[in-house]
Symmetry: C2
Subunit: 345 residues, 2 copies
């Protein structure tokens, strides 16, 4: 039980943090977040809380009948927790999931092995304490002319047995249209490029290519969508600079995507367009369940909240044997671009 | 070009083999199959051709408007080929795929490593010649009261560098109902048990448990369906005995399943039942893309025919965030059985 004095104190702290803007109370105690504002863990938590809330509000404001995100705040037995926001069966968004998580625990040896393979200097076979926080979202709109967007920005710390700390950031934003609109593609990539260029003009070309390489459905020899940016293991030049870069990318999501929603959400479409959208959503499921590192890492982690991981899956998907778009259709135009990623800026 | 004499000779061989009963010409030349009838590769190929054809005909005869399987005979650049039969968008079967393949090639080191982990005595790091043949099928009916069935029976040979041959059989049949019908469950398991008991009464209990353990959606702590039988690496007591056992199992598929189709295919159902079926199909996709060894092995094999591998996916699937059946409904009854596999005979 909480005394009036304690409740009043908590309310004061919450006002200072302006938690009323967030989708739920932060995972870390608000007083702790306020007390040590320079701590990168806390800076990242405040950033992802802000990104989650602003993105959810922006999407809600596009709905026709006032549909709102459902908010699930969950705790993890092993340490930390998250806030999962889902808007399902909306008029504009068929399924939209925006998740933040702030977790601590022990890295399983498998994960250590994977990180070593990526070049991290970690002791083999050791169980290492880690901290991870991030925001991730997948938005599947109803109208086939509105693309699906995915983004994820994350911060990771691992402690080595000698007490040293390794840290890095990762993330990306990418677009999966059902019909190619070159104006959309250029706007989306340009917005991401601007966010990157503020920090380092070598970032966009490098991270654009990384994105094309990562989001590949290898067995089909095609990309999941028209790309965007993707990066991992970024720890240079220094924590401040990387954090600011990640914050710029995360804040570029709304301006990169909302204009596309607004431009297309009222367009007429028929069953033909819907069926093609469902087929492409089947491909999205294939990528996420077969290749996506985050999904795999998540599902194989004991105690993982699988509902938050699998919220990225569409409400509906379709698989047809040997489906091939007819030549010279808008569907075949998209497929060609997925097979041969293009430069958009 | 083929002379009249050659064509007449081929026709004679085909008549002797009665290939007109098959869905397509066998992958191995009919004359070769006839010439060396004791060769286990040939016996298995003839068995899977027979199983494929009988199962496809049996399913076709359940359709209301004479829908037929589409037949794709394909060759693999690396050696061998297959016959993929698909019936899509039927009145009774929403998507039914029955595939046979007969392939030769070189085992990639990863696959050798996996087999070594399962106890095979194979040289590490070597590229070994292999032969594999099998039949596999997944049937997704339209009516939610008709269960989905899957079966797969396969024969494998690997040659070791000293010229020795290792061989084994694997396979299984399992049922995924959307609503639990205890009579169905008992009939299905009893039929499989009889097929096993003819050969060894220790088989059914062992392979029933193996099936429950294998077809688990681990992150959801539930089984994919109500099981059946599953086994792998069977090479004792001798090739003849194992082949006969596998043939019995494969021939038990029709009597285990067709009565269920006939019993339920005309039952009335509504949107509620359809939506539950689609959600369960989402779970089916999760198992196949995340855990199924055959799917993974297939998709990671260079030159694999992914359309034949992914024909197991349903025409439609659905994912809802945090869906939980209401207590004391028929949906919750099924879910309880999936969480706690039962003995049915």
């Amino acid at each position: 039980s909480v005394t009036y004095a304690q409740a009043a104190e908590a309310a004061k702290v919450n006002r200072k943090l302006n938690v009323s803007n967030f989708m739920a109370e932060p995972i870390t105690d608000a007083a702790v977040l306020l007390e040590d504002k320079d701590n990168m863990r806390h800076r990242m938590e405040l950033l992802i809380m802000e990104i989650q809330a602003e993105f959810c509000r922006a999407l809600e404001s596009e709905e026709f009948s006032g549909q709102k995100f459902l908010v699930d705040r969950w705790q993890r037995k092993e340490g930390g927790g998250g806030i999962t926001c889902v808007l399902q069966d909306g008029d504009v968004f068929e399924k939209a999931g925006v998740n933040i998580s702030v977790v601590t625990g022990w890295l399983p040896p498998d994960a250590v092995q994977q990180m070593r393979a990526r070049g991290k200097k970690l002791t083999e076979g050791a169980k290492l304490p880690f901290f991870a926080s991030g925001v991730s979202a997948v938005i599947h709109p109803r109208n086939p002319y509105v693309p699906t967007i995915h983004f994820n920005y994350r911060y990771f710390e691992v402690e080595t047995p000698d007490g040293q700390k390794q840290w890095w950031f990762g993330g990306g934003t990418d677009l999966t249209p059902y019909y190619l609109d070159e104006k959309d593609a250029r706007h989306f990539h340009k917005t991401l490029k601007s966010a990157c260029d503020e920090h380092d003009t070598s970032y966009y070309p490098k991270f654009k290519k990384w994105c094309d390489d990562y989001f590949r459905i290898k067995h089909r020899h095609e990309c999941r969508g028209i790309g965007g940016i993707f990066f991992d293991d970024i720890d240079a030049p220094n924590p401040d600079a990387v954090f600011n870069f990640v914050a710029s990318c995360a804040r570029a999501v709304i301006p990169s995507y909302l204009p596309l929603v607004q431009r297309h959400k009222n367009r007429d479409y028929g069953n033909n367009e819907r069926q093609w959208q469902l087929l492409r959503r089947g491909r999205y499921v294939e990528f996420n369940l077969i290749y996506d590192r985050g999904t795999k890492f998540g599902l194989y982690t004991p105690g993982a909240r699988y509902e938050s991981i699998l919220m990225s899956l569409p409400l509906h998907a379709r698989w047809e044997y040997m489906h091939e778009p007819k030549p010279n259709t808008r569907e075949s135009v998209l497929q060609k671009v997925l097979q041969n990623p293009k430069d958009w800026v």
